[in-house]
């Protein structure tokens, strides 16, 4: 109701403030409205489950009912525009929840199953002479760190220098063909990279050779294109004005690249390298054929077979031996450790970007 109705019709003053038309001003749903709908739908869903309706049907029906419910309620109270807004919000939120389900479920499974063996022995013992209970993944953790570290040591400089060439120097046919080859490399299946390393090393050491460095070479093949691509993107977004500012101070091109371009983009480069490492650290197939697998500790990537977490996890799972339970626990624990390493790496990258990114104050 508007105030003008209390006055005789036609006496609305010039200065009077009020709605021009007599259409009812739209109402407003309570702030908790979406949650009320979710709650109602959830209660009905639980009831239906008790009655014995199939869970899949209940979940799908529930998600749809939730969207429709908030949309209809809003339509009745708030009008069309607000209803559309509510509906799209509900659709986006539903999509988000659906996308989160596999992630949360994966994290939960790995943590709950891997937690059984998060003990000191797992991080300090190898599998040398262990049958059944006990044992650890010390050899595999060190193997993964050494092989991945070596791969990063080889591919990061090559990748950064390639990206610098492409962005700062490359023109014409050579740059175009390098870009093309990097694209092709991105698509190489990991087993092919492993076979490449095997074929390469067999040329020098004969058949049957298994070395840590072979695994590192295989991972390098997978890592270089990822590093090149991400560093290239980072270098491209460094504004040209900064390069010109540096040139205008009488700074040579290579010093400008090192001290201005790379320095400005170091945060992004760190993130890119972390992603590249995360991409290869879980590779199983190429390591299976290049490293082999051992039960004891081997720190030397240039001599003898090595173990690694993915391969360790794989063998513990497919060949658990006489009493499977402890071996399968070890497989999950190895998977959890792998995840923790990747997480630690992302934290490190975050720290680097925090310390080195350009600041305003």
């Amino acid at each position: 109701m508007t105030t003008s109705t209390s006055k005789p019709a036609g006496t609305v003053g010039a200065g009077e403030v009020g709605p021009a038309t007599s259409s009812p001003s739209p109402g407003k749903l309570p702030p908790r409205a979406p949650w009320l709908v979710v709650g109602a739908v959830a209660s009905v869903a639980v009831l239906l489950l008790f009655v014995g309706v199939s869970p899949a049907l209940v979940v799908i029906g529930g998600l749809a009912a939730n969207i429709l419910g908030i949309c209809l309620w809003s339509r009745l109270v708030e009008g069309r525009r607000a209803a559309t807004d509510r509906m799209v919000t509900a659709v986006v939120a539903t999509a988000f929840v659906i996308a989160m389900i596999p992630l949360v479920s994966l994290l939960y499974t790995v943590v709950s199953r891997g937690a059984a063996r998060m003990d000191a022995a797992f991080f300090t013992n190898s599998m040398l002479g262990v049958v059944g209970e006990g044992g650890g993944a010390y050899h595999a953790i060190m193997g993964t760190l050494i092989v991945t570290g070596l791969a990063a040591l080889i591919s990061v400089p090559i990748g950064i220098m390639t990206a610098v060439y492409l962005v700062e120097y490359g023109k014409g046919r050579l740059a175009r063909s390098i870009t093309f080859l990097v694209d092709v490399m991105t698509g190489i299946p990991s087993i092919v990279a492993g076979l490449f390393a095997v074929a390469l090393f067999q040329l020098f050491f004969g058949p049957g050779i298994r070395l840590g460095i072979m695994g590192a070479v295989a991972l390098t093949v997978l890592m270089i294109p990822v590093v090149v691509r991400s560093v290239e993107e980072m270098l491209k977004i460094v504004p040209n004005e900064l390069r010109e500012a540096s040139y205008a101070l009488g700074v040579s091109k290579w010093r400008t690249i090192v001290k201005v371009v790379l320095r400005t983009s170091v945060a992004g480069i760190a993130t890119g390298i972390t992603l590249a490492v995360a991409r290869v650290i879980g590779e199983t197939a190429p390591l299976l054929i290049t490293l082999g697998a051992v039960t004891g500790v081997n720190f030397n990537p240039f001599e003898g077979r090595m173990s690694s977490l993915p391969v360790f996890s794989y063998y513990s799972y497919v060949a658990p031996g006489a009493s499977p339970a402890p071996s399968i626990d070890r497989a999950w624990a190895a998977a959890l450790v792998l995840m923790l390493i990747v997480m630690a790496l992302s934290l490190l990258a975050r720290l680097i970007s925090y310390l080195f990114s350009p600041k305003i104050r």
């Binding site: 500012a245 009488g250 400008t256 350009p358």
Partner: protein
């Protein structure tokens, strides 16, 4: 030490496109020379050829001769990097290095070239350059703060401080005030007046009043049409250009009857 520049029959190209044609002019030492002209007539292109920044662009090159106190800047053995140490530049948009503090921005010319200097020497250099750029009093308490945190006008003066810290002979400025408010503009014009005792200054501007206020000599560039090269129409003392220029085109342009 301020030096003079002689330009003779300079043609400037972007690949096959001739952007500037047949420029001949002398730029006097310890004076301010303003370059004016319509958009696209090649003022920036010409300015950038004076410190060989032009050739940073792929395919760009220059014909003709350009000498600094008699030394040919485009002689075959001349290193463009050493030319840029003698001829500094301030850009249209302030561009301090975002990863550096105010202090490091001022001494960037030394830092980036890995020239070692003691703390007392650089402290003194920073204070002198910032005072020279009229910025010292505003930033002296926060020299270790990022240069990107300053206002636009302060950033531009920081860039001027950075350019004069390497003690060039010539200072080029490409529309240094076009991104600034009138007060910062005035601060920079005052600064230009002080700097001209020590440096030869060449400034590109679209602002006639500014050219009249700060410069001793003015060069007028013009272009006949799109795709045609820009040319130097005439160059003279600023008061002559603005009161009785020889060319009709100049008179039309400075009196606002252009196009």
């Amino acid at each position: 030490m301020a030096k003079s520049i002689e330009v003779r029959d300079l043609n400037i190209y972007y690949g096959a496109f001739r952007a500037v044609e047949g420029v001949t002019m002398s730029i006097r030492p310890a004076q301010v020379t303003a370059l004016i002209g319509p958009s696209g007539c090649g003022k920036s292109t010409f300015l950038r050829s004076i410190n060989r920044m032009h050739e940073v662009i792929p395919g760009a090159y220059v014909e003709g001769s350009l000498t600094l106190n008699g030394n040919d800047l485009y002689a075959p053995g001349t290193d463009p990097v050493s030319v840029r140490r003698q001829v500094g530049m301030v850009f249209q948009r302030p561009n301090p290095f975002p990863t550096m503090s105010i202090y490091d921005n001022v001494v960037a010319g030394y830092k980036l070239n890995s020239r070692k200097a003691s703390k007392t020497v650089t402290d003194e250099l920073v204070e002198r350059s910032l005072r020279g750029a009229n910025l010292w009093n505003e930033v002296k308490d926060r020299l270790d703060k990022p240069g990107a945190g300053l206002s636009g006008g302060q950033q531009q003066r920081l860039c001027i401080a950075r350019a004069i810290a390497v003690q060039p002979d010539v200072l080029l400025m490409d529309e240094p005030c076009s991104a600034l408010d009138p007060i910062s503009t005035l601060a920079i014009e005052d600064l230009i007046n002080e700097l001209k005792t020590e440096y030869t200054i060449v400034i590109v501007t679209h602002n006639m009043q500014q050219a009249a206020r700060v410069s001793d000599y003015t060069g007028f560039f013009n272009i006949e049409g799109t795709g045609k090269p820009g040319k130097l129409v005439e160059m003279d003392e600023t008061k002559t250009i603005f009161s009785q220029p020889r060319e009709k085109a100049t008179e039309d342009y400075v009196s606002g009857r252009f196009g």
